[in-house]
């Protein structure tokens, strides 16, 4: 019976993935990724965005913060290829520099998240006992705040500014990593090769660095890729509320907010930045999905 069974799904997959992680890394993963057309599309989109962000000073036709009150809300022209905003600033230049801000802040926030989440997760999983208990209770407490409420409140209390937004997000976002990594460390810890290493007298840190880290790497790569998209959404959302990027920083969420009052007369002010956000997030989602399939072929659930 059950001739055609759906592949195994569900949350337990990460834990299961941990043990066999080593077997599916390497060339074959890249080969699998290359065959995934959607993931490749995401990769190409991302490469373009990164190139634009890096080369912003050479690509942007104008200074993104230069105000030109003579040409407010101007239509596209040779000088301003996508027109100007309510202060006469070049929309295209602002969008181009916006890629820098969005990718940069998200990457910074993600780094902070990883710096918090990885060690805490490994510590909880590897040490167990009261250390595990303490960390996991903290996780439970942070998870008792819905969605981004806590990040919003922390950012709001610290005061507006991109740095505060990144800090606030890092303080609440590490929780997911700590949980996933703890679970994987627990699974890996009992594997024969770790037990063998311990029996041979390898030190704790030796075991963590040489045996556990490589095994948790591939799920973390997948999670981090998907989270880049989510962080970009969160940062631009908070900026949209006025908590993140402050004028005149060219940030997509803030640009959307700037354009709001002119929705009737100049809808392009809100249209373009939104499209930019969506494209980048979509690219990260496509790539993340592809990476998940490539790094662990058994995890077939994708959107």
């Amino acid at each position: 019976m059950g001739l055609v069974r759906e592949a195994e799904r569900g949350a337990g997959c990460w834990e299961r993935a941990a043990g066999e992680g080593a077997a599916v890394r390497g060339d074959s993963a890249w080969a699998r990724l290359k065959r995934d057309r959607l993931a490749l599309a995401g990769l190409v989109m991302l490469s373009i965005v990164v190139a634009v962000a890096v080369l912003a000073p050479y690509l942007a036709p104008n200074d993104p913060v230069k105000v030109d009150l003579q040409h407010r809300l101007a239509p596209p022209s040779a000088q301003y290829p996508l027109g100007t905003d309510h202060l006469g600033r070049c929309i295209l230049s602002r969008l181009i520099y916006g890629a820098r801000v969005s990718l940069g802040t998200a990457a910074l926030a993600l780094t902070a998240v990883l710096l918090l989440g990885l060690p805490l997760g490994i510590l909880a999983g590897y040490c167990g006992g009261w250390v595990d208990n303490l960390i996991m209770r903290l996780v439970d407490i942070l998870l008792a705040f819905p969605g981004l409420v806590l990040a919003l409140v922390i950012a709001g209390t610290l005061g507006p500014g991109l740095l505060n937004v990144m800090l606030a997000l890092a303080l609440v976002w590490w929780v997911g990593y700590a949980r996933v990594i703890r679970g994987m460390v627990l699974a890996v810890k009992e594997k024969e090769f770790v037990l063998a290493a311990r029996a041979c007298g390898t030190s704790r840190w030796g075991i963590i660095i040489r045996h556990i880290l490589p095994n948790v790497l591939s799920p973390v790569i997948v999670l981090a890729t998907l989270d880049m998209g989510k962080l970009i959404l969160a940062i631009s959302g908070l900026s949209f509320l006025g908590l993140g990027a402050q004028p005149p920083t060219p940030e997509w969420g803030a640009m959307l907010n700037d354009g709001r009052p002119y929705l009737q007369v100049a809808p392009q002010l809100t249209l373009y930045p939104g499209l930019c956000i969506m494209t980048v997030v979509l690219a990260f989602n496509l790539l993340g999905d592809g990476l998940r399939d490539a790094l662990d072929p058994r995890l077939t659930t994708r959107l």
Binding site: M1, G2, L3, V4
Partner: protein, 325 residues
């Protein structure tokens, strides 16, 4: 032999997978007389279950019935409109599966799963349908039918669940019962009880039974006729006494020898069951494992031919007891 109630002719079911075509059932024919039992035996993966599913067109993609006829009551089930087929399923031909834990829905009560069959086919009110179900459970000798009806499958023991599955199939007094390894997952004692119950019910209802099993003990206890399947095809069939007394196909003989019997040496069958994927068409499928293979076996696939009254064998060199005699 009386007019058969079920007649299967040249049934073939293939699975179209990315690696190629799997011929799970290849040109299978048999017939089933009312009140009689036909046992379909063979190793796991030989196509027994797919044959059972094919009878009621329950094979799911990538599986597909590619040819054949399944005659019941003068109608070919394979050509029936799906609305009519639905009226045959469960009412005229019922199915019992091997694993009652997975074949009962975990989130619905036993009572609902029993009663819904009656409601679906006879349009009775739910209350009436439940009463009928409870009555049958009582007749089957199950304790506390009312409580049983209110319980969920996971609350029952394996034997109890299989009895419920059996009751579910018998509820509408079908003419044909197809039972796919109905007792394999159970303890030996429970197994014997259920087989005895099955036999009693079969007599009471005058029902034909197609019993699928790999257990030759079950065959000996239950069968009137037996059909041995190998690699998707029937290689030998006939009355159980004939086939067991005078097995003519090397595979049947090997199968019989592989059953432990006191005082006799146990001889396992050599080799592995064949992969049904890309099975060559131009030779005997049993060739790689056959101790008596000869030149002809590599050239042509043997057809199912009569060797004795009622006994058919697909072998170029069938073993004849009287040859030795």
């Amino acid at each position: 032999m009386a007019t058969p109630v079920l007649r299967v002719k040249n049934l073939s079911t293939y699975f179209h997978t990315s690696q190629g075509v799997v011929r799970a059932v290849e040109q299978v024919s048999f017939s089933l007389a009312p009140g009689k039992t036909l046992c379909l035996v063979g190793e796991s993966g030989c196509g027994k279950s797919v044959t059972a599913l094919s009878l009621l067109r329950l094979v799911e993609p990538p599986g597909k019935i590619v040819s054949g006829e399944v005659w019941l009551n003068g109608r070919d089930l394979l050509k029936l409109a799906s609305s009519e087929l639905r009226r045959v399923r469960g009412k005229e031909v019922a199915l019992v599966f091997q694993d009652s834990l997975t074949s009962l829905n975990p989130v619905l009560t036993v009572g609902l799963q029993l009663a819904e069959t009656v409601v679906a086919h006879e349009g009775l009110p739910w209350k009436e349908a439940r009463r009928r179900a409870a009555e049958l459970l009582y007749r089957l000798g199950l304790p506390e039918p009312e409580r049983l009806m209110r319980s969920y499958p996971f609350q029952l023991s394996g034997g109890m669940r299989q009895r419920v599955s059996l009751a579910m199939a018998l509820l509408l007094r079908p003419r044909v019962l197809v039972a796919d390894e109905p007792t394999t997952a159970l303890d030996v004692t429970v197994q014997a009880q259920i087989l005895a119950e099955l036999k009693r019910l079969q007599r009471e209802l005058g029902m034909a039974l197609l019993l699928i099993t790999h257990d030759l003990g079950v065959v000996a206890a239950m069968a009137d006729e037996v059909a041995v399947m190998y690699a998707g095809s029937i290689v030998e069939c006939g009355p159980v006494t004939e086939v067991f007394e005078r097995p003519a196909h090397p595979y049947t003989r090997a199968l019989l020898r592989s059953v432990p019997r006191p005082g006799e040496e146990l001889v396992p069958i050599e080799g592995q069951p064949p992969s049904l994927l890309g099975l060559p068409d131009d030779r005997c499928p049993f060739l790689p494992r056959c101790p008596e293979a000869r030149e002809e076996c590599r050239k042509r696939r043997p057809e199912l031919l009569k060797v004795a009254p009622g006994q058919l064998v697909a072998c170029h060199y069938p073993y004849m007891a009287r040859d030795e005699g």
